[in-house]
């Protein structure tokens, strides 16, 4: 359907050009540029005047194809500001108030019930970033990770029996309260 409408549109445009040239030659031409958009170098013909000229001057040679063009949907009247306001301010378009906000029991910042607390998460991200940096320094390059588990130890901690064959990452600070063994 898109190809058909494009073909029809190109046919219309070529017809318009022929008509406008005939009019210019005959001297009966009085065209104004459209109000909102400004043209380039040449004045292009208007498409609104097309149906009248088509009916008056060129009798429809292919009624089946051209019939469908005159159907184009266009607004009949300007929508008043009252109508626009009732549409824009309808209940479904207003923002709904959220009822699932509560304070985080750990830090006291606000959080949504089904989402992690942003502050606590940021704090954990920061610490994991530092641990990752440590690991990067230990490894010294890409693709050198040993095929063993890793355990993080803070100041004054010794590896326990379970941490026998694991790689140890040392962090030179006190164990944070939220990072339990």
């Amino acid at each position: 359907m898109m190809n058909l409408s494009a073909l029809v549109h190109s046919l219309r445009c070529s017809l318009l050009r022929i008509e406008s040239r005939l009019l210019q030659i005959s001297g009966l031409d009085s065209q104004l540029a459209p109000a909102l958009a400004v043209n380039g170098p040449s004045l292009l013909p208007q498409i609104e005047q097309d149906p009248q000229q088509d009916e008056e001057q060129d009798p429809e040679q292919t009624p089946g194809l051209l019939d469908s063009i005159l159907w184009m949907a266009a607004p009949k009247k300007r929508r008043t500001i009252e109508v626009n306001r009732t549409r824009r301010r309808a209940e479904r378009k207003l923002i709904k108030v959220k009822t699932n906000i509560e304070p985080c029991p750990e830090c006291g910042h606000l959080k949504q019930k089904h989402i992690l607390c942003g502050f606590c998460y940021a704090k954990i991200c920061k610490e994991t970033g530092l641990i990752r940096q440590q690991i990067k320094e230990m490894e010294g390059g890409p693709l050198t990770a040993p095929p063993v588990e890793t355990v993080v130890l803070y100041e004054g901690e010794t590896p326990s029996e379970q941490d026998g064959g694991k790689r140890i990452v040392e962090r030179p600070r006190k164990r944070p309260a939220w990072f339990r063994n």
């Binding site: 958009a37 400004v38 380039g40 292009l44 906000i101």
Partner: protein
Amino acid sequence: MLKLQVLGGASQQLSCLHTSISLDAKHWERNNRKVYPPQLPEEPRRPAEVYHSRRQIKYSKDKMWYLAKMIRGMSIDEAIAQLEFNDKKGAKIMREVLLEAQEMAVKNHNVEYKSNLYVAESFSGKGQYLKRIRYHGRGMFGIMDKVYCHYFVKLVEGVPPKPEKRTGFDQAKEYVQGLKNRTIIHSL
């Protein structure tokens, strides 16, 4: 001597007109400078009011209006919580404005508890737009507006007032009462 006095009087009269060119001379902020006469002891205590705004926010006034409408009438803590978890761009800016206003209220406007505030008025206005060209096909062009908006908020001390709920039945009753009150004037 007289000339100097006249000049001094004239300058005092002129100073109450908007002579300052600074940004602080905008209308909404000037409300903060209003000074009431001292209250009499038997009068009820006038609640403190704080006016604050932010100008030339790079956002649309229509989109900002939805957020402003949401927080109208809320207590300030509730408003800040709602804006924190809203995904719109204007929500972050509005939250900053509310926090600034709260701080101003506590520091400069003699508000005792920072949570004892509610949003009395909140609305958005059109800022100064920049115009750009938007190229269309066939050599046509349109003028594109780079939109800016202002946001205004007024915080008042106290508990937020409960909005009166009018049911359909109440409205119908009032309508019928209005019809019943009709009478012929200047009759016997």
